[in-house]
């Protein structure tokens, strides 16, 4: 057996993993956290820990295809190269585009960017990172002159005050959050403030939660800046020496947010809470402000970032341990993408398209006179241009825009009418791959070989654990081959990712000195790296230079920034509410976000049964008072509709939701849900600077979906579901689960269920079937057992009260059902004496809510530690700790 160190492919925390290959042919792995990796020191979250369940060949794209026909690589590559070349000849380089991904490795990303910006000669390459942190990039660049994350994880541990702004780190960056939790345990003086419209799992450790009015964060930080000035807490010497523009920024802050009352009113908060925050911020030197999608995904996201950074610059709380404005990026290699210039508005190695010197430098380095010198189309504009027919060929890599983009139905229509859609991916069936003319099989995590950069600038290796599956190739190889076939032979003659990394390092160091202009991103230590050196590369934070070969933990210690005059810039911020305000027709504000146990469009996490147990179905969270007003009941289906599109979701009541606000998870696709794509609903409004969509604030209305019946099916085999408008598929352990509903009246349930579930020949063989009916009340339940094993069971009812799959699901692990189990089966509940563990709360140890309830009751547990000691729940990744607390007796 072979243990290999690699990096987790999910969020931006970038945890180190030790993967042991148990069986290469069967793609079997054992996963554990790398105890030596500085990001996680051995810890993993539920998603990372179950990576082993996601690397099978199930649903893998294994062979190139053109219009559904399998072809060899030569044909596929020639086809793509010829079509791109032809379209460029006819319509110019602006008629083509790449839409890439924060899940590409740096080397893949580098080559894609080089081909588009360097040789095709347009900056029409954008990335799903546009949806994630492009506002943070603008914020940093405007303030620092470069896209430089100043902080690191140790700063979280050395802070005395951490603001989590628009960040549910407990679910979205679980291991970083666990470090904060630990830090708080170790240092009771550490205060945590969560600034988020909704009460999230991150509030579990918060000393103060400010449920800010959606989108009004900039007002709050303007308020802090004004308060700092009013209370003499600014650092004037630092401002004078290392910054510029303070007066203008301060004036704007005082004008818009000059009093606590003004801020409290504008933010929908109590003066007391605002005052507490201001006081804590003013009086705590060691302050880290963590901000994430709640800030970035906004029509004023860039301004919000700068409102935050302004406060840190004014107090000189940057560049020193335990402080700084810390952007948490969402993706495993969003940062790597930023480094290579994978965004339509950046060049390469943190250089700028609009800077002629930079363009010239990159051109000389690449040996090309075609380097793009103006911004390309950012994601939303790019798909608009595809819809308008201006872009005629698009190559989408490792991402699923038909699900994740705002106004996603428009994106779908755009691709449907696009002349050439090329998709390279490791997954065969995605909403986007369905629309592709050419499908190119890429290697996936466990096969890829290169580097990623996490959100503290730490470069780590992703190493191959298995050989490439089928005919799959690395993305850099695929892109290089197309580049060569488009006529750029020498520029794309790469033999390995190590070689690309070396070139990337060389570009970062190229003319990066005082004589030209010092750039933050510098890997001069690696300009001579060879394959061996690349393979031995240890996690390291850039810049990594010949002078500082062990990397750089913290930036701006010297107060020197990367602007022309090396001074940081204050940006005057005028807080703006979201572009589209709720109105009488669309009275709710729709928020979107991640769940604890899923990743993006679920193409991989959806394969891990364990991860589907926490929240198996699209849902919409709302305040009980709103639900009551609209007559919406928990677990029923509701339609969420905006001016752009609609979706269906289960109603979940949560008093942590603001009145007037709704929340839906971002993950569900058309593949696994008929109506669960939240992207269809989200308004395509973008930030004017970053182009990042306002995914967190869309005016919507919500109403009950008049389902006539609901059904749930568990089946050992995947099923082709017909006859139900609403459908969600969930991968279970040894079974597939389908949640169905319809507005059509009930039907001949027996005939329908037998046609759905039966193998041919068993349709009329009554001996294979268990049946329960209560026809007048609209209930029908059946189970299909052609042999001793349970093959499938189906429950139909007039309401949403259908059985939980816990116990039923466990029957699929049995080779034979006992008499008692058969007799109980159609009740959905276990026979007497068999435990039903209920909905899974702790994914690491598979502990269900009923088990927890029972243990808490029986043993009179008073703390999460008691629960963990007894059931292990909460002692793995720790992400469920907030939920575990809900089971404990409430303190009166």
């Amino acid at each position: 057996m072979n243990t290999i160190k690699t990096t987790c492919p999910y969020c931006g925390v970038g945890c180190g993993i030790e993967a042991t290959v148990e069986d290469s042919a069967a793609h079997r792995l054992t996963i554990k956290g790398d105890a030596n990796h500085p990001a996680n020191f051995g810890k993993l979250c539920s998603k990372g820990a179950t990576l082993g369940d996601t690397v099978s060949l199930e649903n893998r794209l294994l062979y190139p295809q053109i219009r559904g026909q399998r072809v060899d690589w030569d044909s596929a590559l020639n086809h793509v190269a010829e079509r791109f070349t032809k379209i460029i000849e006819q319509h110019g380089p602006e008629a083509v585009a790449f839409y890439v991904s924060g899940q590409l490795l740096t080397e893949d990303y580098y080559v894609a960017n080089k081909l588009m910006k360097g040789f095709i000669g347009t900056a029409n390459i954008d990335t799903n990172s546009r949806l994630c942190m492009s506002s943070a990039v603008v914020g940093y660049k405007r303030a620092f002159g470069a896209d430089t994350v100043p902080c690191n994880y140790e700063d979280l541990e050395q802070a005395e005050l951490i603001l989590l702004v628009g960040s549910n780190a407990a679910w979205c960056h679980p291991i970083a959050f666990q470090r904060i939790r630990k830090a708080k345990e170790n240092n009771p003086n550490l205060k945590i403030v969560v600034i988020d419209p909704r009460a999230t799992a991150s509030c579990d450790i918060a000393d103060l939660h400010l449920p800010v009015k959606p989108g009004m964060d900039a007002l709050l930080f303007n308020g802090i800046l004004a308060y700092l000035q009013q209370n003499g807490r600014i650092n004037q010497p630092y401002i004078d020496m290392h910054t510029e523009g303070f007066e203008l920024a301060l004036n704007e802050a005082v004008k818009t947010a000059g009093s606590i009352a003004q801020v409290a009113a504008g933010c929908g908060l109590s003066s007391e809470a605002v005052g507490t925050l201001f006081d804590w911020f003013a009086s705590t030197e060691n302050t880290v402000t963590v901000y994430s999608q709640g800030i970035n995904q906004s029509s004023s996201g860039s301004d919000k970032c700068n409102a935050i950074i302004n406060c840190h610059l004014a107090t000189a709380r940057i560049g020193k341990p335990g402080m700084g404005p810390f952007s948490f990026t969402g993706q495993p290699n969003a940062m790597g993408g930023r480094e290579v210039g994978g965004l339509a508005n950046t060049l390469a190695a943190h250089m700028d398209l609009e800077n002629p010197e930079h363009v010239d430098r990159v051109g000389r380095f690449w040996g090309s006179d075609k380097v793009a010198d103006k911004q390309g189309l950012k994601a939303v504009a790019m798909f608009d241009a595809i819809a308008a027919g201006q872009i005629k060929a698009v190559w989408i890599m490792a991402t699923n825009p038909v699900v994740s983009m705002p106004d996603a139905d428009k994106v779908k229509r755009a691709l449907q009418q696009c002349e050439l859609v090329v998709v390279s991916d490791c997954i065969a069936n995605t909403d986007t791959a369905e629309l592709a003319h050419v499908l190119l099989p890429a290697t996936g995590w466990s096969e890829k070989d290169g580097t990623v950069t996490n959100l503290e600038r730490r470069i780590s290796r992703q190493r191959p654990l298995f050989p490439a599956s089928g005919a799959a190739k690395h993305d850099w190889w695929i892109i290089s081959q197309v580049g060569q076939r488009m006529g750029f032979k020498d520029a794309f003659n790469y033999q390995s990712s190590a070689e690309i990394f070396r070139e990337h390092a060389q570009l970062s160091a190229f003319e990066n000195d005082a004589e030209h202009q010092v750039r933050d991103f510098n890997l001069s230590a690696f300009t001579g790296i060879d394959r061996q050196g690349f393979d031995a590369l240890q996690p390291v934070q850039w810049p990594v230079t010949t002078e500082q070969t062990t990397g750089t933990a913290r930036m701006f210690a010297d107060g020197r920034y990367f602007t022309a005059n090396r001074k940081a810039r204050f940006i005057p911020i005028t807080p703006r509410p979201p572009v589209n305000a709720p109105d009488a027709d669309y009275p709710f504000t729709l928020n979107t976000g991640r769940l604890r146990d899923q990743w993006h469009t679920m193409t991989r996490t959806g394969l891990a049964a364990k991860l589907n147990a926490h929240r198996p179905e699209p849902f919409v969270e709302m305040h009980p008072i709103d639900a009551d007003k609209l007559g919406l009941n928990a677990h029923t289906l509701a339609q969420v509709q905006s001016r752009w599109g609609n979706m269906l979701a289960r109603v979940e009541l949560n008093p942590g939701q603001q009145i007037g606000s709704l929340f839906v998870p971002m993950h569900w696709t058309g593949q696994i849900s008929s109506h669960g794509r939240m992207g269809a609903v989200v308004n395509p409004v973008v930030d004017p600077h970053s182009g990042q969509p306002e995914s967190k604030q869309t005016p919507v209305k919500i109403k009950a979906w008049p389902a006539q019946w609901y059904a749930t099916i568990l089946s050992r085999q995947p099923l082709q579901i017909t006859g139900a408008e609403y459908r969600v598929s969930v991968r279970g352990d040894r079974y597939f689960r389908y949640e169905l509903a319809s507005t059509e009246p009930g039907k001949d349930w027996r005939a329908w269920s037998r046609a759905l579930l039966a193998d041919t020949g068993h349709l009329d063989d009554d001996s294979c079937w268990l049946e329960y009916s209560d026809q007048q009340a609209g209930y029908y339940r059946t189970a299909y057992l052609p042999g001793r094993e349970l093959q499938a069971c189906l429950f139909v009812g007039p309401d949403c009260e259908l059985p939980e799959p816990g116990w039923l699901g466990s029957l699929f692990a049995k080779t034979e059902l006992s008499r008692a189990e058969r007799l109980s089966l159609l009740s959905g509940l276990p026979p007497k004496g068999q435990a039903d563990i209920g909905r899974i709360v702790c994914s690491c140890f598979n502990v269900g809510e009923k088990t927890i309830q029972q243990a808490v009751q029986t043993h009179q547990f008073q703390s999460v530690a008691d629960i963990s000691a007894c059931l292990s729940a909460g002692s793995g990744c720790g992400s469920c700790v907030a939920e575990l607390k809900e089971f404990l007796p409430k303190l009166s």
Binding site: L770, L823, K832
Partner: protein
């Protein structure tokens, strides 16, 4: 001086009364029992296992001869001790052989007799009922040498006989006038289950037909002709088309009888010194064939005899709890339902389980449990108590366990 109690009928009902009486008032009576069979009191329900060979006659004895000695109960048993008359004026019971016994209180527990249909040719050897030890001994003897058994009547007893004879190696055919089995206890679907399971064992069924005539050779049955025109070879014909209360003695001595001996709520007949219990009685218009209500009668009667005048018999809900050839059955109430009723059902063909619950509004009015009767007591209570079930309707079918969980 003790009172004298005479019991006519040494069967389960009468002896259960004696048992109860000895327990509640051990010194009140001198007890004398007359029985027409030459045995102690045995469990008639267990005749089927005797037919199988699973039990011996000794095994099914409830009260053997020793018991009578030990409890100082005088027993007169055997065909010549059959009671032929009762002198109500002098309160004296007279047996065939002239044995007589005076009484202060008399208990008639003569039970029932098989209904022997008047089919042409029936008075030949090999045509019998399935009622007592003598019948079983005859069946066992014939099964040893003969091949073809025909059972007339697809009720409980007929099916038990069929199964027993099948076990004894005979080829068995069941003839039933109705087109489904156990038509008083089961609906068509349950009956179809039962028929399939029994057919799988090898029993042949001729339903919706009856026997037109019986053919014989040398005064022994040889074949039966059916109303559908077909004929079956027959070495034995078991008549099990039902039972009738054995009331000839009661009638003869002038007690009020309709279908059975009419008794009041204290189990007393039209003669205040004479009580009656068991399958021979008619109480509030109803006859009895199952052990549970009969034992309840015995209890009430014993209490009356011991002087507790307030003890009253109430007819229980007409629940049927049966075991047919190893298959558990239960039915109660209006299990067919009507147009006002709603029907819940559960079927597991492979397991041989069928359950049906009939609701009227919010109330369970009928239940059939086939193949799994573990919750029958609970359902019986729901029916008896008219428990509203709306809140547990979707769990109702799955018995008491899920209901407890749901609470």
């Amino acid at each position: 001086m003790k009172l004298k109690l005479v019991v006519i009928g040494n069967g389960m009902a009468g002896m259960r009364t004696v048992d109860e009486l000895i327990q509640t008032a051990p010194d009140r009576y001198d007890i004398t029992v007359f029985g027409a069979e030459p045995h102690g009191n045995y469990n008639r329900i267990m005749l089927t296992p005797v037919l199988f060979g699973a039990k011996s006659i000794a095994d099914i004895m409830i009260h053997d001869f020793d018991w009578y000695l030990k409890n100082r109960v005088t027993l007169h048993c055997g065909p010549d001790k059959a009671v032929v008359n009762v002198d109500r004026e002098h309160r004296c019971v007279i047996a065939q052989d002239g044995t007589c016994a005076f009484y202060d209180k008399l208990l008639i527990a003569t039970g029932s007799l098989p209904l022997m249909l008047d089919i042409p040719g029936r008075d030949v050897e090999g045509v019998l009922g399935f009622r007592d030890i003598a019948d079983v001994e005859t069946m066992i003897e014939k099964a040893a040498s003969k091949r073809h058994a025909v059972i007339l009547g697809g009720g409980l007893l007929g099916l038990e006989a069929a199964n027993g004879l099948l076990q004894r190696g005979m080829q068995v055919s069941v003839i039933n006038r109705a087109d489904h089995l156990l038509n008083r206890q089961l609906d068509r679907k349950a009956a179809a289950f039962l028929q399939r399971q029994l057919a799988d064992k090898g029993i042949r069924f001729h339903l919706g037909t009856t026997i037109q005539r019986i053919d014989s050779r040398d005064r022994h049955i040889s074949a039966v002709e059916l109303s559908d025109g077909s004929a079956l070879p027959a070495d034995m014909l078991i008549m099990s088309t039902g039972i009738k209360p054995n009331i000839s003695l009661a009638k003869r001595i002038g007690l009020e009888c309709q279908h059975g001996i009419v008794v009041d709520d204290s189990m007393r007949s039209s003669d205040s010194a004479i009580y009656s219990v068991g399958e021979c009685v008619q109480h509030r218009g109803e006859l009895f064939g199952l052990v549970a209500p009969v034992y309840e009668q015995a209890k009430v009667c014993a209490q009356q005899l011991s002087g507790q005048a307030d003890s009253q018999f109430k007819t229980l809900s007409s629940a049927t709890m049966l075991k047919v050839t190893g298959i558990d059955l239960f039915s109660v109430g209006n299990f067919e339902g009507d147009s006002d009723c709603q029907i819940l059902q559960l079927i597991d063909h492979e397991l041989g389980v069928y359950k049906k619950i009939v609701l009227r509004g919010n109330i369970v009015v009928g239940v059939i449990l086939y193949g799994d009767t573990s919750d029958s007591a609970w359902y019986l209570n729901l029916v008896k108590d008219k428990t509203p079930i709306a809140a547990i309707r979707d769990r109702l079918m799955f018995g008491q366990t899920p209901l407890a969980n749901a609470a």
